[in-house]
Point group: C2
Chain length 244, copies 2
């Protein structure tokens, strides 16, 4: 039996996230359907992460354990032909049988895009948060840097999470600007439920003066969700890189 | 009575083009509906151009003749609030009563985007043509330059056009590359039905070896639609600038 690691990307606009659920179209379901058409077998797929409805992926990894013997190149081609336009397979390779897309993931990088202009952008409303007031990316970068470190991130986790260990090691965080788009990029060994969206909301509220500057460490150690900012909308969030 | 010139942009994916038609959602209809809500009057709007279903506009101009006295700044704000996210109003200004968005247009610029990589791009399928084989943008630029001049462009007009005068003056044409995106940009005093999409299809067929290089002038003077390339799909086309 082979174990195949697939790298895909997707526009999450039309999907209720990665994970299969009843009465909703998900990326996992759509990929499994294409796989079944191509391989004529219903093999189980393991994703590197759950993603929320509307969240996108520039890079997402998952593995299939399969008896199927179609070559990796042919699988890429056939899956792409059987997937809708908003999901693309870019790589397929054989990995050891024990490899697990979620458990073996060393770290992940997310980016969050903010369209930072008073005017609407009709091409970016599904791919960004629209924030009309000026954002100072250098100031926000200095604030984002305060996320770096190994902490209990409970204050940045949505209610309803079933995870017990809330400690995450954030190794990189930055805010940059590309024209009218402000980008928050963050890398960690793992993320809690809605963590990046709450981090983004907190940065925006610091910019707006609703949260005091230089208080991110305080908010973290408070382990108090109510002290962090609101959860930013999912459309601006992209899973950007997966590290094994 | 005031005459107001509006500048808008739109993602054409969800629309059957600009022009009002029965049983189809169009940009004009959607804009007129928002106008009626804001101004409580059903004023006629004149667009600078018809656009096909799926075609986008980075810039589109239209004028309303209206008894309404709401200030331009308030109109921009109120229209944006009442328009869907895929249509944005960026400017509104008073113009002389005689001004006509279509007749007074001196020239227009279109761009056509081609995603030029073997892999699909799940974020660009509604905003580009996917062409898998390598395109040489310098060679294609030298071919595109052959469109420049004042000619009867019948060979680059879709059948069914009711226009009588097929002469158009193309003043600028170029092909450039931005990473994996190849962009064809063309400016003229006016365009025939499907003209830019047929020009793009012709450039692609030259690249593919289906049409001989350096034959664009010949194809133009043949006034024979069958000698030009196929009509490229609408999704890659953007009305980019309007000059008055």
């Amino acid at each position: 039996m082979r174990n195949l690691l697939l790298t895909i990307s997707f526009d999450g606009s039309a999907y209720h996230g990665w994970q299969v659920q009843e009465n909703a179209v998900t990326v996992q379901q759509t990929l499994q359907d294409a796989w079944e058409k191509v391989c004529r077998s219903r093999d189980n797929v393991i994703g590197c992460s759950r993603t929320d409805a509307g969240v996108h992926a520039n890079m997402y990894c998952c593995n299939f354990r399969t008896e199927n013997e179609i070559s990796c190149d042919k699988l890429i081609h056939a899956l792409n032909a059987n997937l809708p336009d908003d999901i693309a397979v870019s790589d397929c390779r054989e990995v050891p049988y024990e490899f697990h897309a979620r458990y073996d993931c060393k770290s992940k990088e997310y980016i969050y895009k903010i369209w930072n202009k008073p005017e609407k952008n009709p091409f970016l409303y599904k791919y960004s948060l629209h924030y009309k007031y000026p954002l100072d990316e250098k100031f926000l970068d200095s604030q984002a840097k305060q996320f770096i470190g190994k902490y209990d991130y409970s204050a940045f986790c949505a209610a309803g999470s079933s995870v017990e260990d809330m400690v995450r090691n954030v190794t990189d965080a930055e805010v940059t600007r590309d024209g009218d788009i402000v980008i928050f990029r963050v890398r960690a060994d793992g993320f809690l439920y809605n963590m990046v969206r709450i981090m983004t909301g907190t940065l925006i509220e610091i910019s707006a003066g609703k949260i005091m500057p230089d208080t991110i460490k305080e908010i973290i150690v408070s382990v108090d969700r109510s002290r962090a900012g609101a959860t930013a909308r999912p459309e601006g969030l992209f899973l950007n890189k997966i590290f094994y």
